[in-house]
Subunit: 374 residues, 4 copies
């Protein structure tokens, strides 16, 4: 205990420096699962992105992602005059080759790119993307046929940026009849609640109402470092996946089972059954000692996650060195000092986690049982 606590202390001291140098996105595992960090929506020059797939791989390696899917538009190929490659699996092949020496899972995926409805949807874990699009010169496939083909390939399909103002001028996500049908037939399983720079409360509510998997993606076309100000401390939106194993199969099983949390602009968004264990794994009581001659208990809280956790004190106790807001810095440790009045050996603290959401506008609350070590 002593040694572990000391290790944390070192970390705290070095955190300001780390914040500048360190972009790896790291969250603790949640028993019995491993926590994998994925970004399942991005583009390269094989549709309308600005980079060769190797840059997407290198960005992912720098961000310490576990998995990516390079999801080119099937029906939108603005660079076709220069890049006429007819194989829609080509971007995935190049990305896979680029990642051959990296510890990164590359998943085959494509973006079905239609007018609303159905709008844009990603199908990932595809066997052959070509089967989802008409051959050049042929008539476009019926969208329902495309989704059935995706289903046939056992792909995982989610609706992209349902709040996109180009398709929904109000920015509000609304399910259409076609989406209801897709969901009803098991052809649509997930929805982006965070995409690039946007988040949608309405999409989150749709996911909860219709039992869809929550996704957050970068949808990056340019450079991750620029779009999300990585040197300044920003991060891309990612989907945290709680998987039985670190593999493509593990990710797919977890996505189907809806075991995800989205991390968008430092906010953790998920269903309580996934978000609460993540918060519990992220917040550790590192030490708890009473001040001498006082009933004030100094509690050291360690944050093992990459998120800055903003907590509002909801305990029966007030704090001695803070008002009711406490911020746990990423991979840092802070002390809070609790006025216990009676100096019990154990106290229960409770906090509303303001930087997390379990439903639109609703923050989760956590409880910590703290045993004094003195």
């Amino acid at each position: 205990m002593k040694a572990l606590f000391a290790a944390f202390s070192v970390c705290v001291l070095t955190l300001p420096a780390a914040a500048q140098d360190h972009r790896a996105i790291e969250f603790p595992d949640v028993e019995p699962y491993v926590t994998l960090v994925g970004d399942f929506h991005m583009h390269t020059i094989f549709s309308d992105g600005s980079v060769w797939p190797n840059i997407r791989v290198q960005e992912a390696v720098r961000d310490a992602l576990d998995a990516i899917a390079v999801t080119e538009h099937l029906e939108y190929q603005p660079y076709r005059a220069d890049i006429p490659h007819p194989d829609r699996n080509r971007s995935h092949q190049v990305a896979t080759q680029s990642a051959r020496n990296e510890d990164l899972i590359v998943i085959n995926g494509s973006e079905i790119t239609r007018e609303l409805p159905p709008g844009h949807l990603n199908a990932i874990f595809l066997e052959d993307a070509n089967a989802l699009v008409a051959a050049p010169g042929e008539e476009a496939l019926d969208p329902m046929d495309v989704f059935r083909e995706a289903r046939r390939q056992d792909a995982f399909v989610f609706w992209n940026h349902p709040n996109w103002v180009a398709q929904s001028p109000s920015g509000v996500a609304v399910l259409t009849d076609m989406h209801h049908t897709l969901i009803g037939e098991g052809l649509l399983s997930g929805i982006e609640i965070a995409n690039e720079q946007t988040y949608s409360d309405e999409a989150f509510q749709i996911a909860l109402d219709h039992n869809l998997t929550l996704l957050g993606t970068s949808d990056i076309h340019g450079l991750v470092d620029w779009e999300f100000d990585v040197p300044g401390g920003g991060h891309r939106p990612v989907t945290l996946v709680f998987a039985a194993e670190r593999s493509a199969d593990g990710i797919k099983e977890a996505l189907v089972a809806r075991r995800t949390v989205v991390w968008f602009r430092n906010t953790l968004i998920g269903r309580p059954e996934h978000l609460m264990p993540l918060l519990e794994a992220s917040i550790q009581v590192a030490a708890a000692e009473y001040w001498s001659n006082s009933s004030v208990l100094r509690v050291s809280l360690a944050n093992t996650s990459d998120a800055s956790l903003i907590l509002r004190n909801m305990s029966a106790y007030t704090l001695h060195e803070s008002a009711n807001l406490v911020t746990l810095p990423p991979h840092g440790v802070i002390d809070i000092n609790v006025k216990t009045l009676e100096s019990p050996a154990m106290i229960t603290l409770s906090f509303e986690v303001l930087s997390a959401l379990i439903a639109p506008g609703t923050h989760p609350s956590i409880r910590l049982e703290v045993y004094s070590t003195q």
Copy 2:
């Protein structure tokens, strides 16, 4: 070619950044008052502090304070063997002399330093501190007589760190009979709710219940830069005073009238009648334009204060690029994008200000009327 023009651009562009680096504590005025920044509790080698008064003046100048009081312990003089000066106004005289070329108001004050009750209390705007303490070798004055003398001198008296664990082992501020008497006789007018590294919800409630002026002070004995990590972005606790004029008299009148807000660890704490106007003066709608072909309204919010303002969206509208928390950086501008649905010419936004308190555990809410300029 671009260089000369750019040289000027550098200056302009970096001013906001410089404002962040800079330690000056700056809050906007609140009509019809000027907002003055004061720290009315600190020590030098004339009682148990570690510096000559000129350092307190220089710290205040670096922090851009408007006013300080150097409040030595009347009854606690650990360095007396080395510094036997009998005049209890001496520290104030030296500080005043040190500040003669500075734009800083130096107020004469002393800390009445007794066992609880009454504990430690500051009397500021004193004419002669010597009258509040027995001459060496004589019997200690009765505390009630001391407060009556302070009253006679028309001093302003406030209770220091009522949550101090050395006097209140629970860290909980509790009014004693003597305090009730002092308040009842008009001999005690204020209370520290923030002192050095501590804040007290209970002291805040006492202030509200008994109509006492709210104070936040550094109570600095060592160095402000070290104690409050100023190079790392920290700040000392201060009392914001809303005064009719920038003068000692102006401050005194405002303190008596209870027109203060406390700033402690980036939290603004005050009565609604003083805190709300400060928030309104601090948050400005700089621009508001609808996105083209969309009912999303981009609203630029400027923060003219030194506090980082953490807002929770309570509006009838959801946001397009944030979940419900928005942080306005000090002296910065951010855009929020509001999904208005109907594109009205005016909308009303409302936010809970999580980094402010109007009562223990109670955050204020602000409303902003936003008129689109397009």
Copy 3:
């Protein structure tokens, strides 16, 4: 004078913040020329780079470059299976289109990519790159014919990375007979002395011996931000061009006339006739006043360039607050205090500029006449 000095003071205060935020590469003009910042060697997915040309344009805009050339390999097209476009002007066309709303000069160029000799050479200001390479399936052109065609198009040709270990395992640049012939026939006019992460004293000497234009280029294939650690304060190698006008023609005339200075890892490298005026334009005496009752002269030196200038004092005078090294930060002002002994109204200071080179291993010296204003 007063106003100008005040402007500088502001800059100084804001420099630390600027250093983090600001990547624009800015050097002062050198009468009668404008100082243009160019990078004439880079790659995109149209040969073996990793980005679409728009990223090269955006990197250049962020770096505030005046001019770029996107110089694809003519004979090396590893992505040809995916990007079979036969027109070797295509990358330039796309870059030009990407830059249509930017204040950036885009120059048509290509990299002639041969075994050594002649190795790799860039031809810029081409009319038609296709004329420099055999059609697919045809026999490669004789290199001399290629250079003659470049000459016919009035292109400017320079030798790339003559120190490249893949062609020169020692890393030492050596002129071959073919290079002598090219130079003799006026077919080769310039040489890279700095390329990506390397610099070559030997190439610099060759340039001086054979009257070649000095060039420094990024030769970027990946991302400028990553390769040169731009967020950490690094910069790409660039060629500063002293041009009669800010235009493609102006740049070409200046390159032909050899009016360039290379900036590589904060070192300025050039012929004395170009480097000395740049240093003189960069270093300004902003103020000079004697200390009261002393013969010590406080001289404020302003650096209007983007280079950190490391100066070694070679004056007849010693300094009061420095040993013999003084560093002028980019776009900053520092004071040096000169022990003049006799308090003359004018003194001459001389410095060796250690962060500049006028020949391999040879630093320039500058002289400053300083008139006291008091």
Copy 4:
């Protein structure tokens, strides 16, 4: 999955960064000596400084100094009205008490404060400072008698700021007859070549000509953090002492034997016999491998000191990735790439160390034998 491992990695990876942020002044030992960091000139409120001695102790602890002397003016006591303590050892007693729980050697010393000649001189390792000054009301002692008393107490005496413009308006240090006499009689053993913000070439030359110990001191009156911009990366001037043991006696023996190097504004200044071993201990060849298929040798150089070492390449070889200047950051490692031509198993590198001085205007050169490990 990666998170737990990464948590430990963070600590490791950020230690070098932390070392930069950290203000501890650290230099390697030089066999057979330990390298101790001392500051033997500073003031508190017991003469004309602005702090109680405990602040001097805390500043020293934060700077990781090994030894300090609190050297009050004997003849200048501007705060005497407030601090009439007659014992001139009092400041030392208080400092010693403040340091009782710190690993800091506190040496008794005083500043003999006279008109020039002899000017101001520090006597350290005093037994009783009172013997060096006349009792109040008595006639001032003859300076020669003061120095003889210091000698009698076996004190170490050095001349302070001989370049002080208040005593030498030109800022030039000049030995007077009295100084010659003092040196001749063995009453004066050292000289400050760096004091607070100033450095003196002339003082350095006097030390070399007259065999005096070199000293650099802060002479701090205010706060070290402010005067030397410690948060911004600055450091106070210190004297590095090469001692046979870490003790007051060890320091005294080393000072008498002149085994010192001064560190002033990142410049190391000393006699070759002390400075060269320090540089050799500070610069380590951490690795050396030839590039594949090349005669370029990658040499990793580690800097174990707190000084940023600016090296000018004077080797028979040119470098592949730098011009002739190379900077070794404090506690950092950099690679240089040497064009060896013949790929020998061993090469000798030589560098002029521009950030070090062995005589006024003269930089030392170091030689490194590098054995390739491949």
